[in-house]
């Protein structure tokens, strides 16, 4: 079976010119030179060489074995979240080269986790971090610099307590709150158009800033839930954007974190909260974390991941940032529950 010319990513004008001269399959063109093709079909010389590039077998995708992939993955360090339970569930932290979606009701801590990650990705390599930069795309206007400063100060403090050898002392001299702020790029997008063009522009941005290993979009849902009447168009635009992000994440080993809102689905008599943006969007991210309140405690659940078991962990948000539910408060909770049990009996 031959591959038809129309299945190449070419403009319809070029395709119809080729077809008019009888070139239906890629096999008909392969052996020609750009000059020949151009004179025979009347397409421009540049277009002709573009066509020939497309049918060139050298350019076809190549595979790697799973073993090579495993070795590549082993070289990528994850981004710690500072919540050890969540880190353990995710195998050391948020993995590089994946797209991650955080879903949750307002106030559950989606933005807090984003800010925390924006700081954590900058932890110097000698402390087990990545020493990288971060791009924060803010669509809701919730980026809160004061809060980021607080978290950055807490992380700097944490690292200075861990400092032991000479290398770490040297690193600590430059690892300051100011440095963290200067390594963070913030983009404000007001509507879906701006967000989509920003996403399309990311490859160029990453070429200029190769140190950026984390892209945060807080939130992907807000611009798309605002006056969007053509729902199929919305789904198509979103899936296209998600695909671009996934390609970017994989090819550049950059992590993309997106936040999503929750919406209500009516089911029979009752209703329940589900992540917004529709059923198809659910496939978009590689890892989906659901942040929710259960019994007045904050819980994070991995609801979709190809590499992790579905797990639920506790976390809390304190002045330092996104943290473990501390042992003391856990014990206190258990005690009060014990007391309750005693009281009840």
């Amino acid at each position: 079976m031959q591959r038809p010319v129309w299945s190449l990513p070419l403009s319809s004008a070029v395709i119809s010119k080729l077809n008019r001269r009888g070139y239906q399959c890629t096999a008909d063109i392969e052996h020609l030179t750009a000059g020949q093709l151009s004179t025979e079909t009347g397409v421009k010389e540049e277009e002709a060489s573009e066509v020939l590039d497309l049918v060139d077998h050298q350019r076809y995708p190549v595979s790697i074995t799973a073993l090579e992939l495993l070795q590549r993955e082993a070289e990528l360090k994850p981004i710690v979240t500072f919540c050890s339970e969540l880190d353990r569930a995710l195998g050391g932290g948020i993995p590089l080269g994946k797209t991650i979606e955080l879903c949750g009701v307002p106030g559950i801590g989606k933005t807090q986790l984003c800010l925390q990650l924006a700081v954590d990705v900058q932890i110097p390599e000698c402390f087990g971090g990545l020493g990288a930069q971060c791009l924060f795309i803010d669509t809701e206007g919730t980026f809160f610099l004061e809060r980021l400063r607080e978290m950055a100060a807490a992380v700097v403090r944490h690292c200075s307590l861990l400092t032991e050898d000479q290398e770490q002392q040297d690193a600590m001299r430059t690892f300051t709150v100011e440095k963290i702020l200067s390594n963070l790029f913030v983009v404000r997008c007001d509507d879906s158009m701006e967000l989509l063009s920003q996403i399309s522009d990311l490859p160029a941005f990453l070429s200029d800033h190769p140190e950026v290993r984390l892209i945060i979009i807080d939130s992907i849902a807000f611009p798309f839930r605002l006056h969007f009447e053509d729902l199929p168009l919305r789904t198509r635009l979103l899936l296209g954007a998600a695909h671009q992000l996934a390609a970017l994440a994989t090819t550049r080993n950059t992590t993309v974190v997106m936040t999503n809102q929750m919406t209500t689905r009516v089911q029979g008599e009752g209703s329940r909260l589900i992540p917004a943006l529709g059923e198809n969007w659910g496939h978009a991210a590689n890892i989906r974390l659901l942040l929710q309140w259960i019994d007045c405690k904050r819980m994070a659940t991995i609801i979709k991941s190809s590499s992790h078991m579905s797990t639920t962990v506790h976390y809390q948000i304190n002045t330092d940032g996104f943290r473990d539910l501390s042992e003391a408060s856990k014990r206190a909770k258990v005690q009060t529950e014990d007391q309750k049990a005693v009281g009840n009996s």
Binding site: T250, N280, S306
Partner: protein, 312 residues
């Protein structure tokens, strides 16, 4: 209309083409020559009839049934994936499509010692997870490494590179990837809808033709090289809340066997690894057959397989 060129088929020499052009110019058509060309062209481009007996013999010698490694799924698929056929897994997010793909890849690479081509279009493949699965199946490091080397991964993010990839696989006869390893017996695409669904739904029919082109190439590939193909698909929800595979009616004719995976009811806060699979299209087993299976099967420890089996 195809323009006649030299060497399009045997007998169509440059001189003949020139002569023909001249014939047309002089309004003097050599009917015999034209008829001869027509005969040759027809003979070259028509398929030959094959007798059923031959076909059956061919089938017996070339068809293999590749077990998925999971007894419950094998039950549903009538003992596994058939080579030369297209099998589809559809399901919502987090229903275990990718896990089943990983499981199948690991089983074929480790136990059947055959090559697998894994085309990842979502960035969802993690070799760490494949390695974990291998560790539960085999304790020898050499075996694990050999199995990992039999899995060939393509990471593609648009439909054109998927077409390029399928074309080059077909052209090379699956050879370059099979160098040094076993021959390839399975092609897994996770997921096919991720690259196709952004193209559909516009008024242009282009997306539809590209989808059909992917399907046609894939079918030709599995038939010619007698490999099994496993693809995954998203789902859409109809107004009534019922779930059905995405990509529409035209796609639904293409896979020979279709499975719909569903997760546990999420109304409670428990997230279990139990999933159910329903057969929605098959030519071997009654449709709407349904089995429950456990995703943790692939993470089970070697010592207690019987307990898990009872569980599922």
């Amino acid at each position: 209309m195809v323009v006649l060129r030299a060497h399009m088929c045997p007998g169509l020499e440059l001189q003949l083409v020139r002569d023909l052009r001249e014939c047309v110019c002089n309004a003097y058509l050599c009917v015999k020559a034209l008829l001869a060309i027509r005969r040759v062209l027809l003979a070259q481009h028509t398929a030959f009839p094959v007798s059923g007996a031959d076909l059956y013999e061919d089938l017996l010698s070339s068809t293999a049934i590749l077990s998925t490694g999971h007894p419950r799924l094998d039950e549903l698929l009538d003992s596994g994936l058939y080579t030369g056929e297209l099998t589809e897994l559809s399901g919502g997010p987090g229903t275990g499509k990718t896990q089943v793909c990983f499981g199948v890849a690991v089983h074929i690479a480790l136990h059947l010692k055959q090559g697998v081509i894994f085309i990842d279009t979502t960035g969802g493949i993690t070799a760490t997870r494949l390695h974990q699965m291998l560790q539960t199946e085999s304790s020898s490091l050499e075996e694990q490494i050999a199995a990992l080397q039999r899995i060939h991964v393509f990471q593609l993010f648009d439909v054109f590179s998927l077409l390029d990839c399928l074309c080059s696989l077909r052209r090379s006869g699956l050879q370059p990837v099979a160098v040094g390893g076993a021959c390839v017996r399975a092609v897994i695409i996770d997921s096919v809808s991720a690259v196709i669904s952004p193209l559909l739904g516009t008024r242009h029919t282009e997306g539809m033709s590209l989808m059909m082109q992917v399907a046609a190439l894939l079918k030709a590939l599995v038939k010619d090289f007698s490999v099994a193909a496993l693809v995954t698909n998203h789902v859409t929800r109809s107004v009534g809340g019922a779930v059905r595979p995405a990509l529409g009616v035209s796609w639904s004719h293409l896979p020979r066997t279709r499975l719909l995976l569903e997760g546990p009811d999420r109304s409670t806060h428990s997230f279990s690894s139990l999933r159910s699979a329903t057969l929605i299209k098959s030519s071997r087993q009654p449709c709407h057959m349904r089995v429950e299976f456990d995703l943790s099967w692939w993470s089970r420890s070697k010592e207690v397989p019987s307990a898990k089996r009872k569980h599922s």
